[in-house]
């Protein structure tokens, strides 16, 4: 089996190399024969997918067959590993995850090459760029991180097992989502670079890549928050984001990708920011690769990092080469990107996008700076320093609040120019609503002058309210207009409005999701915790809850042994739940893992951790966290995903409406705004 996988990878490398070289030659020569050569390059690209898929399937089969003669399977699986995790073995380690990355890239390339008739020449350029990236990953897989490397010496009876932290249902879907996001940004980058090289006229490449970018952004968003949920549900420290370098690595391309999704509208509608968009697409792709470099090079220490290996150098060189290639083509063809920049007013949608992009890129830079600062410090001072949550919370939160303010303001601003009167009229009620939220919070006891985190929480709540009310008011206003024209009721009109401009109103739903997500986050300063050794019948109080230890016991199965406590949760005198915090000891990997148990409500999460047995008394130590509002983070993410889905739906046609009132009989005129 290992040989089949190895040959499949070699074949994939040969096919992608051919796709790149033949595709390049066909594009450069442009003679009658080059068209046929280009077609063979396209087909070789499609065949690459089949070859990489075969290699991936072989690796998964090996995992299910417990084929420990393959070193990768030995290191990341064992006989008693449940089936879903055996499947997840594909992306659980260095070599397998690179194979998975290559598979996803080949799959994206496969779809792209099938849809080439949309614009054969532009797609041919994009296909060549994707083939070049594919060649890099397949070189890695064949010569630096071979997933089918064979074990030396006698065959081990069982594998070393999967990392216990990864034996959790979300880990079966979190990495694929994240990788779909990372890898997916190769597609808009490929189109952008292709358009730059061929001096593609107009903005069609933007239209072609818009859906790709949104789908990719959606996957990355899912991946990031599945990771956050996994951290919350598995790591047992009661939080969901630790500003670890690897978490930061996933956030950076997300930030630039989000900036691109906004600024691209400037190019579509006004022909502006062509250079900036080109750089944003490149930066997003490059940061995705940089994230992989950080994870795998060992250059920055992280709890998530893969084992340190030589492939960091490969990624380093790849980053340099892609930067050099992009700079070369940008320098050569930059005149093609000249825009007709004309801004009529500071109070306009264009301005808000400029500031929004500034803040997104600044947030990305701040995180990049914080992630690399330990290394910079080592170079400058001879020793590393830690850049952890206190730094990011101080620096990134103000930027996030400003972004939230722009999220609220942006939809109220018209393209070209917004009159102050119109802004006041549209902004008044949402602003009053936000002020009311602030007032209620202060009356409820939030004193922003006592602690900076309370100030941030208050501001975040007010701005989240502002964003939500802005979105609601936009739906109502648009719905009323349609209702007046079509005679439908307001709700039906709002649904119709959504169908008429799915991108715009899907975007507003995403904004609303972000506001809900922020509401979930602002509970953090009010977190509480308690810890106690609990014997039979012992009690511990936390907030409105009383925890009573009913029992504690042990259990064994083939994969792990576990210790767990049975904790009754009382609110007042009434028992409302029973939770079973657990600690597992995995046999194959000889590693321990806590499994927190969470009672989640809209108001707060009660989060229990079994910390271990006191060796002196034999009684369990239970740590309890009371985390307000956390559920709203996950609700907000779902809303963001729904909004992204809505934005991907094609627009519906306008409803039959009453004849439009005749304006003024006059020759064609301009100047009445947008």
């Amino acid at each position: 089996m290992a040989q089949i996988g190895s040959y499949a990878l070699l074949l994939a490398l040969a096919l992608s190399a051919y796709s790149f070289l033949a595709g390049t030659i066909a594009l450069v020569r442009r003679d009658p024969g080059s068209e046929r050569m280009g077609e063979t390059a396209r087909r070789a690209g499609i065949a690459t997918f089949a070859a990489v898929l075969l290699a991936a399937v072989v690796l998964v089969i090996c995992a299910f067959q417990d084929n420990f003669s393959i070193a990768y399977i030995f290191h990341h699986s064992n006989r008693d590993l449940p089936a879903p995790y055996k499947f997840a073995t594909l992306w659980s380690g260095q070599e397998g995850s690179l194979l998975f990355w290559s598979l996803l890239l080949a799959a994206y390339g496969f779809v792209l090459r099938l849809r080439y008739k949309t614009d054969p020449r532009l797609f041919a350029y994009a296909s060549v760029v994707i083939a070049a990236v594919q060649v890099f990953f397949l070189l890695l897989l064949n010569f630096a991180a071979h997933p089918f490397a064979v074990m030396q010496g006698s065959l081990p009876p069982d594998g070393a097992g999967l990392n216990p932290l990864l034996q959790y249902p979300e880990m079966v879907i979190h990495p694929p989502m994240l990788y779909l996001g990372y890898v997916g940004f190769t597609v808009p980058f490929a189109f952008a670079l292709g358009a730059l090289i061929m001096k593609y006229p107009g903005e069609k490449w933007i239209h072609v890549t818009r859906r790709w970018t949104m789908v990719t952004w959606g996957f990355l968003t899912c991946g990031i928050f599945l990771g956050a949920h996994w951290a919350y549900s598995v790591l047992g420290w009661g939080g969901y984001w630790g500003w670890d370098p690897v978490e930061n690595a996933s956030l950076m391309p997300w930030l630039t990708g989000t900036a691109f999704l906004h600024s691209v509208m400037m190019q579509e509608k006004r022909g502006m920011l062509k250079v900036w968009n080109m750089w944003l697409v490149f930066a997003t792709f490059w940061l995705a690769i940089l994230g992989t470099f950080l994870t795998r090079s060992g250059i920055i220490s992280s709890v998530h990092a893969f084992a340190q290996s030589s492939i960091g150098e490969w990624f380093g060189w790849f980053l340099i080469i892609t930067l050099a290639a992009f700079l070369y083509f940008f320098w050569r063809n930059k005149s093609h990107l000249r825009s007709e920049h004309k801004l009529e007013s500071l109070v306009s949608r264009e301005s808000s996008f400029l500031f929004n992009n500034l803040l997104f890129v600044l947030a990305c830079f701040t995180i990049l700076w914080g992630t690399w600062f330990p290394k910079i410090s080592e170079l400058a001072q001879g020793h590393q320093v830690t850049v952890g949550a206190p730094f990011y919370n101080s620096v990134a939160i103000p930027v996030a609040l400003l972004l939230l303010l722009l999220t609220a303001l942006g939809p109220l601003l018209a393209w070209r120019k917004t009159s102050l009167e119109s802004l006041k009229r549209n902004f008044l009620w949402p602003a009053l609503g936000a002020a009311a939220v602030g007032l209620v919070m202060m009356i409820s006891g939030v004193r922003p002058w006592n602690d900076i985190s309370y100030f941030y929480a208050l501001m975040a709540a007010m701005l989240a309210a502002l964003v939500s009310l802005t979105v609601v008011s936009e739906f109502i206003r648009g719905g009323r207009v349609i209702s007046a024209h079509s005679g439908q009721n307001l709700f039906a009109s709002m649904v119709h409005l959504l169908h008429r401009n799915t991108r715009r109103y899907g975007g507003y739903i995403v904004h609303f999701g972000v506001a809900v997500l922020v509401i979930g986050m602002l509970g953090t300063p009010f977190n509480r915790e308690a810890e106690k050794e609990m014997g039979y019948g012992d009690k511990m109080s936390l907030g409105p809850y009383t925890l009573v230890c009913q029992s504690y016991t042990q259990e064994y199965n083939e994969n792990y042994s576990s210790e767990w406590a049975i904790i009754n949760v009382l609110k007042g005198e009434k028992q409302i739940a029973t939770l079973y915090p657990e600690r597992r000891f995995y046999k194959a990997s000889q590693q321990a893992q806590t499994i927190p148990r969470i009672r989640s409500t809209a108001a707060e999460d009660l989060y229990l951790v079994y910390e271990g047995l006191n060796p002196d008394t034999g009684r369990p130590i239970i740590k309890a966290h009371l985390n307000p509002l956390v559920m709203w983070i996950w609700v907000g993410v779902w809303i963001v995903i729904v909004g992204t889905g809505v934005a991907l739906i094609p627009n519906a046609q306008a409803v039959v409406r009453a004849p439009a009132p005749k304006l003024v009989e006059s020759p064609a005129v301009v100047g009445a705004g947008n």
């Binding site: 709890v303 007709e340 410090s377 020793h383 590393q384 850049v387 005129v669």
Partner: protein, 151 residues
């Protein structure tokens, strides 16, 4: 005057008496040094060889009434500079804090410069059969658009 002294006394008493809050605050400014890369008070992995001892040291220092800076210095001396969860605001470490704000200032200046430059550009010429609408006509169009769209 008396009121002022009373406020000052309350402020000082609250500040010195709240050991648990200080412990919590300082414990979130320090890292566990076992390699887990977690904040000291959030380190939860079973059998951690370091976090319990570090917490006890921190509790002892807070109980003694050591100032925040003294506690930090003691931990840095014992465990090295990576024990602090964020760079200090001294020496080269200060650049960690300054650079993001310098970038913000630079970015803002750039955006303002761009906006001003773009605003000062002349409007593109209109086609021959088009004439700009101004004055009362423009207001009439605006009013009609507002009425029909409520925007």
């Amino acid at each position: 005057m008396q009121c002022g002294f009373l406020c000052l006394a309350i402020f000082i008493l609250i500040g010195s008496g709240d050991e648990a809050a200080r412990f919590d605050h300082l414990g979130h400014q320090l890292m566990c040094i076992c390699g887990c890369r977690q904040i000291l008070l959030e380190c939860n992995h079973v059998g951690c060889p370091d976090s319990d001892g570090m917490r006890n040291e921190l509790m002892a220092a807070v109980s003694r009434g050591d100032s925040d800076s003294l506690v930090s210095q003691a931990f840095v001396q014992k465990y090295g500079p990576t024990v602090l969860a964020a760079p200090t605001n001294t020496g080269f470490n200060r650049t960690a804090w300054i650079v993001p704000f310098v970038a913000l200032g630079f970015g803002l200046m750039t955006v303002v410069f761009i906006v001003r430059a773009w605003r000062s550009r002349p409007a593109p010429a209109l086609a021959e059969d088009l004439r700009p609408v101004r004055g009362a006509d423009l207001e009439q169009f605006r009013a009609q658009a507002r009425k029909e769209t409520e925007l």
